[in-house]
Symmetry: C2
Subunit: 114 residues, 2 copies
C-alpha cells in the first residue's frame, strides 16, 4: 500500500463478455476482482484452480456452481472452491456489482472470462 490508495473507479475496466466488465487488483498472494454486470448479461461457465470468495454488492444474480443454481442478492457471499465449474447470469433489472477474492494470485489470463 502506498500513500495514494487506488480507487476502483480508476482501475482500467475490460469488457470480458457483452455487458460484463472486469477490474483487477493484484497482491502477491491473492487477486481482487470487481465485476460489473449489466442487466441481462451472462458469464459462461468456466473454472480456475484458485479458490474464489464472491460478495454481491448490488442487484441479483444467479450463479451455477458445480451444476447447482444459487441466487445471490446484495450482501450475499459464498466460497467457490478451486477448480469448481461456475457461471452466472443477471436476474432482475438492476446492475450487479461483485467483489471477488481469488487465492492464490491469478495472473493475467489468456482470454476473456478466464
Amino acid at each position: 500500500m502506498t500513500n495514494t490508495p487506488t480507487n476502483w473507479t480508476d482501475i482500467p475496466a475490460e469488457e470480458v463478455y457483452p455487458g460484463i466488465t472486469r477490474q483487477v487488483l493484484h497482491g502477491e498472494r491473492q487477486t481482487m476482482i470487481r465485476y460489473v454486470y449489466a442487466p441481462g448479461s451472462v458469464f459462461p461457465e468456466h473454472h480456475h484452480p484458485q479458490e474464489q470468495i464472491t460478495t454481491v454488492l448490488t442487484g441479483q444474480i444467479e450463479f451455477t456452481v458445480d451444476g447447482h443454481d444459487v441466487v445471490f442478492s446484495a450482501g450475499d457471499t459464498g466460497v467457490i472452491p478451486g477448480g469448481t465449474p461456475h457461471g452466472a447470469r443477471v436476474i432482475g433489472d438492476e446492475t450487479v456489482e461483485t467483489i471477488n477474492s481469488l487465492s492464490p494470485r491469478r495472473d493475467a489470463a489468456p482470454g476473456p472470462g478466464n
Copy 2:
C-alpha cells in the same frame, strides 16, 4: 458454496474494539473479513503474517501503514503486505464499512483486533 448463500447481515458480529465490529468468512486459502466502524472509532496498530487487501465501501478512514498515514474514502482499495504494522481511525461523521481479504487463511485469533 452451498445452495444457500450466506448474507453478511447473518454472520455473527464481534465487537473487537469500541464501535468496531468484525464478521468473518473462511475459505481454505483465504479469510474474508467485514469491519464496520462507528464514527470516532480507532483500531490500534497491529500486524499479522497474512497479506491483506482492503476495500472501503462507505465513509472515510485514515490508515497508518508502516508509519505512513493514508486516507481511504468509499471505493478506495489497497494491499497491505504480510507482516506490515497497520492501524486505522475513522475520520468524518459516516459509519465506515470495509471488506478485507486475507491470505493465507487467518484462523480464529487469540484476542481482539488480531
